[in-house]
């Protein structure tokens, strides 16, 4: 179990990633120059609305971008190794064992025709280094699977092992998906919208679960969500994505209390605050720009309340102390 050390290499380092999908209407630039880092033992929250490119970024990390989409440029370094362009066989070694992922809807992510137990066991057996899979190895894998089911608080794990996904409630299914992802004790867990399909009461349980697993397994975690509230409490670092780019990043407390980008503050303002019952919710007007042929200027320009002349050229990331960065000329002034 590795201790969290600032001077150790980050477990994941994404530099200038660009992923594109050719479509009938044109070339969709889903990820357009993304830079992110996840330190060891850290949890990163990635926030953005639909179409911001947050999921595609991490699908690219997993190497799961399907034809005809492809990663056109950039570098992804995982645990010291460049993984873009890695041959298929090597990538499969990484997936499930070192990097694992969970998806938004556990009902569609789990194969309805297979028992949940078998879906956990197959991950374990798949990464089993022994050449011959003796009957012993199945038994061991099954024990391991039941163990991890218990770890994610599934009651009567040894019985429910042979049940099918549709026989579980939504929250349980999410736990099973998490159990499947964690079965081989990966170094990095990417949780894509882990709470979106769940009731509010269950959401917190799942987030606590992920946090607990992170501590006990010493993993690094990425939580992707469109809901900034979800990542606020559980992540040490938050990155805000918009239109295929990272527009703000920093320690979560700092981003939440002192946002530097108009979009971020807009997001925070649109969360209803129960203690101020007469407060009006102010949504951000407008929509994200078309990902096909993205504009050269600031992508938030049309929706921003503080546009100035320099917003019309491409905006770079401005870096501050305390690992804060923002892609905006205002640098937080005026918000």
């Amino acid at each position: 179990m590795e201790k969290f050390q600032h001077n150790q290499n980050p477990i994941l380092s994404i530099k200038n990633l660009r992923t594109q999908f050719p479509t009938r209407q044109g070339l969709v630039c889903a990820v357009d120059g993304v830079n992110l880092e996840v330190n060891r033992g850290e949890s990163l929250g990635v926030v953005g609305e639909s179409g911001s490119g947050k999921s595609v970024t991490f699908l690219s990390v997993m190497g799961l971008i399907r034809q005809p989409g492809k990663i056109v440029s950039g570098s992804i370094i995982f645990d010291g190794q460049e993984i873009i362009g890695l041959p298929d066989a090597d990538y499969r070694q990484l997936r499930g064992k070192s990097i694992a992922m969970t998806m938004q809807d556990a009902l569609t992510a789990l194969n309805p025709a297979l028992t949940v137990g078998s879906q956990i066991v197959e991950t374990i057996l798949n990464h089993d280094k022994s050449f011959f899979q003796s009957p012993g190895s199945y038994r061991r894998a099954k024990e391991q699977a039941i163990e991890i089911m218990r770890l994610v608080s599934i009651p009567d794990a040894h019985i429910r092992f042979q049940e099918y996904p549709h026989q579980f409630s939504g929250g349980m299914r999410q736990r099973i998906m998490i159990a499947t992802a964690l079965a081989c004790r990966p170094k990095l867990l990417i949780a894509d919208e882990p709470t979106t399909a769940l009731d509010v009461t269950i959401q917190e349980q799942i987030l606590d679960l992920i946090d607990g697993m992170k501590k006990s397994l010493g993993m690094s975690v990425v939580i992707i969500s469109h809901d900034i509230g979800v990542v606020a409490q559980n992540c040490e670092k938050i990155a805000i994505m918009y239109a295929g780019q990272v527009i703000e990043i920093g320690p979560s407390k700092s981003v939440i209390h002192k946002p530097k980008h108009p979009y971020t503050s807009g997001l925070l303002r649109s969360i209803p605050n129960l203690s101020k019952l007469d407060q009006r919710i102010t949504p951000i007007k407008g929509n994200m720009p078309n990902p096909i042929n993205p504009p050269g200027h600031c992508r938030f320009l049309e929706r921003c309340s503080l546009p100035i002349e320099s917003c019309k050229s491409p905006i770079k990331m401005y870096h501050f102390g305390n690992s804060r960065s923002v892609r905006c000329v205002h640098n937080g002034i005026g918000l």
């Binding site: 499969r92 997936r95 992922m101 194969n111 499947t180």
Partner: protein
């Protein structure tokens, strides 16, 4: 298992079967011609002989009584006498049945083991050369009249190249005594390889012709189903676990994709029952189908009607089996 539920479902078939028997009965009733006259043919008979024959056949009774007799006889497989052969219908049928069964089984075999893998491959390699060939082939398969296809096969393989025999099940001097009445099995059991290959050569073209339409439909269903399955989330999740491609396709994908295939296959056997007649006629196959066609020309109504009843009942049973099979294969659906 849920045997009682299966039984319950089975009992629901009874009204349908009754309805079928009613229709067949009325077909018999409404067929022109006096059965007694047809049976006696050109023989000179006295009115007393006619009357006694009429009484024997129950023709002097009212309708409902005749129907009751019809049903009760049918249940004990008593279907009357063939007009032409002067033998019980049931004997004629049991004589010819094995030939038809063997042909149907081999046709199904060929259809399933060509069409299903082809459909899977066509789906995996969508728009490739093999996909285009498969799709076009399937289109031809459903558009081609079976009787013509059979003749073309004969023209090619028998007339032109003299590779395969035109008719019959086996060459006279290679015949073997009957154990299972299925030639292919019998010849193998008795280690008569020369006979086996001879029987194989005889059954090849008829089975190909019969299986053509079914194969075309199966290929399309499999391909469509596989395409849909491969775009599901659980496939992406399985890939994220780092499973080998082979396993993902053969285990995760097929388990779901083959469900519609199996059900359609069970249902399509109904078309085989009809196609029998044409194929057996062309290839001189001594089966049930040819018996029926001969009966049509001889105006041998007992055989025609019994065949209709038999085919319909088999078809209904096959539908039932398809339904039950579906519930076994799809864990989400219970009886």
């Amino acid at each position: 298992m849920k045997f009682s539920k299966i039984l319950e479902r089975f009992l629901q078939l009874i009204p349908v079967l009754l309805g079928i028997s009613l229709i067949v009965f009325f077909m018999i009733e409404l067929t022109p011609g006096d059965p007694v006259e047809i049976m006696l043919g050109d023989e000179i008979s006295t009115p007393e002989q006619e009357a006694s024959l009429r009484h024997e056949m129950g023709l002097d009774q009212p309708v409902h009584f005749r129907y009751y007799r019809f049903i009760s006889n049918a249940l004990v497989l008593e279907f009357g006498q063939s007009f032409y052969h002067r033998r019980p219908v049931i004997d004629l049928i049991t004589e010819r049945l094995p030939a038809t069964i063997e042909l149907t089984i081999v046709a199904m075999f060929i259809a399933i083991f060509t069409a299903v893998p082809l459909g899977v491959i066509a789906a995996i390699k969508k728009n490739s050369f093999i996909d285009k060939i498969a799709t076009v082939g399937a289109l031809f398969g459903v558009s081609m009249p079976a009787f013509w296809f059979g003749l073309i096969l004969i023209m090619f393989f028998s007339v032109q190249f003299n590779l395969l025999p035109v008719s019959g099940r086996i060459t006279y001097d290679l015949e073997v005594p009957n154990k299972t009445y299925l030639l292919l099995i019998d010849t193998l059991i008795l280690f008569r390889l020369d006979s086996f290959f001879d029987a194989l050569k005889h059954i090849l073209m008829p089975a190909l012709t019969l299986g053509l339409a079914m194969g075309a439909v199966l290929m399309r269903v499999t391909r469509t189903s596989m395409l849909e399955v491969m775009s599901q989330d659980y496939i992406v999740f399985a890939e994220s676990k780092g499973l080998k491609r082979f396993r993902i396709i053969c285990w995760h994908a097929l388990k779901n994709a083959l469900i519609p295939t199996v059900t359609v296959a069970a249902l399509e056997t109904g078309s085989l029952l009809g196609g029998n007649m044409i194929v057996e006629t062309i290839f001189g196959w001594p089966g049930l189908g040819r018996l029926v066609v001969e009966a049509i020309f001889d105006r041998n109504y007992p055989i025609i009607q019994t065949a209709v009843l038999l085919y319909a009942t088999t078809y209904v049973l096959m539908n039932f089996i398809a339904d039950v099979l579906y519930t076994f294969l799809n864990p989400r659906v219970s009886l």
